[in-house]
């Protein structure tokens, strides 16, 4: 390798080196004749005989540290100083670590240890970094060297031997002659990963997800309760213009609280009854202007948590789908397609809001088999 590396700085030697290049331009120096005899097509590139020739290496520019011994001494001291700062930084980090024990929950102490240890480590690292780079730039032998490239492809000899190896392999094994062996082996290789793929069925429980996605915790008579406290809501507490974040009663006590909540979360609002457009079949789903809609966006399932009281619009903060509550949560903007499913509600004999039934359709994001379930 070393013999192909030449010094690019000395003007005289570089001039000789690039003598051939001077005549022929960038893409055809003496070493690339091999490429050309192999006729690597230039495609639609324009190969110019009258191109301006490569002028060869410019004379080297010496650094101040090359010219002035005092500058050299100064650079040497600077490099050592950086390394010294590195040592100081590392020790300072250890000192801060020892000086500030944690665990009393005081965020200030936490902030200061993070800051102190971090600054110490940073100084330790930057000292080494700046020192090494300064050393390399100001003191190490700085002029450019030249290394020849060789074409990436193997030599003709090597390639011929590689071809020979494969044909010997083929001949000695009979790979392409014994077709039955070859084909049955390929078939076996195709078959063997199948059990591995099947094993992944075990990632999920045995139930059909479509059955699970169909239902939520809500059923007839389930009380609407506040999220997260779980206290029931009286119809009389819901004033016009107010909105409640709602979960079904008993949710906090369930085993799979988050899975149930991800389907059963509801937003409860009261509008003036005359503002509501109610389609046929849903007349009994609301109570005196109080309506309940799934809080889980029909786009990709974020909670549609922002209620705009004046316009009665619900906004999903994730992707800005907007739903108009006065028109049964129809989508008026954004990527969602379907309205939020409505939870039919009524009032029980103690005046508490309860569900009339579960949702009549799957809640949350769309999925392929949705209409089936």
């Amino acid at each position: 390798m070393a013999d192909t590396i030449r010094d690019a700085s000395g003007t005289d030697s570089a001039g000789e080196d690039t003598g051939t290049e001077r005549e022929t331009g960038v893409h055809s120096t003496s070493t690339s004749t091999e490429v050309e005899t192999r006729s690597e097509a230039p495609g639609t590139a324009v190969v110019r005989p009258d191109a301006i020739p490569n002028p060869g290496f410019p004379p080297e520019r010496l650094r101040v540290t090359d010219l002035d011994p005092r500058e050299e001494k100064k650079a040497e001291r600077a490099v050592s100083l950086w390394f010294g700062l590195g040592i100081f930084g590392a020790i300072a980090a250890v000192a801060v670590y020892v000086a500030f024990p944690l665990g009393n929950g005081d965020p200030d102490v936490n902030r200061w240890t993070t800051f102190g240890i971090g600054m110490g480590i940073a100084l330790g690292l930057l000292g080494i970094g700046f020192g090494a780079v300064h050393w390399s730039k100001s003191l190490m032998e700085g002029h450019d060297l030249v290394e020849q490239r060789h074409t990436t492809r193997g030599s003709e000899e090597t390639r011929a031997r590689a071809v020979e190896v494969f044909s010997l392999g083929n001949k000695e094994s009979g790979f392409s002659r014994r077709k039955m062996i070859r084909n049955s082996m390929i078939a076996a290789l195709v078959a063997f990963p199948l059990p591995g793929i099947v094993l992944f069925r075990g990632l999920a429980p045995r139930e059909d997800p479509n059955e699970l996605l169909k239902f939520t915790m809500w059923k007839k008579g389930t009380r609407l309760t506040r999220d997260p406290s779980g206290t029931p809501i009286k119809a009389s507490e819901v004033t016009i213009g107010s909105a409640f974040h709602v979960i079904p009663e008993g949710l906090n006590e369930t085993e799979d609280r988050l899975e149930e909540k991800a389907k059963a979360a509801v937003l409860l609002m009261r509008l003036r009854p005359q503002d509501l457009t109610i389609s046929s079949g849903r007349e009994s789903w609301s109570y005196d202007g109080i309506v309940a809609y799934s809080k889980i966006c029909t786009h990709v399932g974020c909670p549609v948590a922002l209620y705009e009281q004046q316009t009665h619009h619900l906004l999903c903060p994730c992707h800005q789908s907007q739903f108009d509550i006065t028109r049964e949560a129809t989508v008026i903007f954004g990527p969602a397609k379907r309205p939020l499913p409505q939870l039919p509600i009524m009032v029980d004999d103690q005046g508490y809001l309860v569900a009339r039934s579960d949702f009549r359709e799957p809640v949350g994001p769309s999925f392929w088999e949705r209409e089936n379930s």
Binding site: M1, A2, E21, V26, H27, S32, V35, E40, T44, A45, V46, R48, I52, N54, P55, G56, Y97, L102, G103, G105, P107, N110, T114, G118, M119, I121, G129, G131, V133, H134, S136, K137, D144, L145, V146, R149, T152, F200, R201, L203, P209, L213, P228, H245, E259, A262, K295, G301, C318, Q320, S321, V331, F333, G334, P335, K337, S366, F367, W368, R370
Partner: protein, 541 residues
């Protein structure tokens, strides 16, 4: 007898040599006699690396990955990848007694009860953001300088895979603390997966081990995050580096530099010192940022709950383009085929992302097909000298930027007091029209810069010195270039459009027609480099 005499002789020889050598020399000898290490040193030690600031971008990526590995290993000693419910009993008072997963509790413990734990968490996070960012910038550098051309097409693909893996690593890591934000991110993934036709419901079900969110996902993502994905990344980096050594680095055109040499500094010592020092600088800067800038303060967000979400939440920057793609779908893109729901509002953005990524991966092969150029290229282009490629890059970047901006549509709207709808519409317009405008403008700018280069190469710089001639005429003196300065402006590849000619059998196939059309589109506007006769003519004036 002979054996006896020869024995001691060789021993004394060996001893003599060992005594001559220093401790280092003896150790090197020991190693080499068992590993042939001297061959590797001989091969690599004085390899030449060309120098340019933009070549550091890939180094930044590599070094931030090392920082990620170091800090991530520390974090694994404390993190518990479990979603079992616990009551928080750590030292952060506002969260005392809150029900949360063990994952979140251990993350809070790392932040509040492990000395320096928060620092390492933050350095891990910042390094991850820098990792993806530097890969992206490195890819842009490679793209705009044409460094993906033969023989480096495959290494481009390896690098592309690294970019995808880095994003996957980022997202899996983002999801691990099981706080409100990461849970919401997973909710969006769940919704996207469910929206895929035929297999979506089942993939989501298998991924989450049941219904969303389940109790498995954090553990599973953890395995991906610390085992499978890092192994793939390390393997790909290995391939990337080996190919870098085989192909040698590209260099920019300069006097003395040709397509057949590499001009620069040797690995030992200058490049080793510079690159090694640069590793410490990258690490040090990341530490500085981690020590001073809080990131992902999970203690403010609390545990994941499917019900609350705070407005104005943002994904990590590299996921932004995917989130933005979801936001830009107009209303109503969902329909039924028989009993099945087809969610085009999911499928189209997913396809758009896949097409964008696929185009990035395939570009080198496309350009090779257009130019038909089978030569090796080791001189990096200046972007202006490949106007159509640069314009394509700018168009792609604009497309990406529009998606990315859309991910912050709500923040943009509140910050600039615009309506959310208008910001979305603006991003939609930008997504469709932006790439065309960017293409046109970039190409014109490139051609204009090439013309300017020609002017300067032929007539020199405008010196600003006004001279009055004896006849009273005023002229500005042009400062001629040295031949070294000129070389940079005149040495570039020039392609012309294909001439559509029948092949040997006298046919013109549809493929040939297509290639001719694309080639024409690519190269119809071109500025040739200054030739020797032109230069001589200009110097005679």
């Amino acid at each position: 007898m002979t054996i006896d005499t020869q024995g001691p002789v060789t021993t004394t020889h060996g001893q003599e040599r060992a005594e001559d050598a220093s401790v280092v020399g003896r150790m090197a000898n020991y190693l080499d006699e068992r590993t042939s290490l001297s061959g590797a040193v001989k091969f690599l030690g004085r390899k030449i690396f060309p120098d340019h600031w933009s070549f550091m971008l890939g180094e930044v990526a590599l070094y931030s990955f090392v920082v990620i590995l170091l800090s991530g290993t520390f974090l694994t000693f404390f993190f518990q990848a479990s979603m079992s419910e616990v009551q928080y009993d750590g030292s952060y008072i506002p969260m005392k007694g809150v029900e949360m997963s063990a994952a979140l509790q251990s993350t809070l413990n790392i932040s509040f009860d492990v000395r320096g734990g928060l620092l390492i968490r933050q350095v891990h996070y910042w390094a991850a953001l820098l990792f993806v960012a530097s890969i992206g910038l490195h890819m842009l550098r490679v793209f705009f300088t044409g460094a993906f051309r033969k023989p480096r097409e495959l290494n481009w693909v390896v690098g592309f895979l690294l970019f995808v893996m880095a994003m996957a690593e980022g997202f899996t890591g983002y999801s691990l603390p099981d706080d409100l934000l990461s849970g919401n991110g997973l909710r969006i993934i769940d919704g996207m997966v469910k929206g895929l036709p035929v297999v979506g419901t089942w993939i989501s079900y298998l991924l989450f081990g049941g219904e969303f969110p389940g109790t498995d996902i954090v553990g599973r993502l953890y395995t991906l995050h610390i085992l499978l994905l890092p192994a793939i990344v390390v393997a790909l980096i290995g391939i990337h580096m080996v190919l870098l050594i085989i192909n040698k680095h590209t260099q920019f055109a300069g006097p003395g530099r040709t397509n057949d040499n590499v001009v620069g500094v040797p690995i030992m010592p200058v490049f080793a010192a510079k690159a090694g020092g640069f590793f410490f600088i990258v690490f040090g800067v990341l530490m500085l940022v981690a020590a001073t800038v809080t990131i992902n303060p999970i203690w403010n967000y609390g545990p994941y709950d499917p019900s609350p979400v705070s407005a104005g939440t943002q994904p990590d920057w590299y996921i932004g383009f995917a989130d933005g793609a979801l936001r830009l779908v107009p209303p109503g893109w969902e329909f039924l085929i028989g009993p099945y729901t087809v969610s085009m509002n999911i499928i189209v953005p997913v396809l758009a992302l896949l097409v964008l990524l696929g185009a990035v991966a395939a570009y080198p092969f496309f350009e090779a097909w257009v130019t038909g150029d089978r030569r090796e290229h080791h001189i990096a282009d200046r972007p202006r000298n490949a106007p159509t490629r640069t314009a394509i890059g700018a168009a792609g970047l604009t497309f990406y930027a529009a998606l990315w901006a859309a991910a912050s549509s709500d923040i943009v709207a509140t910050h600039f007091r615009l309506s959310i709808e208008s910001v979305i519409h603006l991003c939609q317009a930008l997504l469709i029209a932006g790439p065309f405008v960017a293409f046109f403008v970039t190409k014109r700018v490139c051609l204009a810069l090439q013309k300017k280069d020609r002017e300067i190469a032929l007539h020199g710089f405008e010196s600003g010195r006004i001279v009055r001639l004896p006849g009273g005429e005023y002229i500005e003196v042009h400062q001629p270039l040295s031949e070294y300065e000129r070389w940079r402006l005149v040495s570039y590849e020039d392609y012309q459009p294909i001439m559509l000619r029948p092949d040997r059998r006298g046919r013109i196939t549809a493929g040939m027609r297509a290639r001719a059309r694309v080639s024409n589109w690519f190269f119809e506007d071109r500025i040739s480099p200054v030739s020797r006769p032109e230069l001589e003519a200009s110097q005679h004036h």
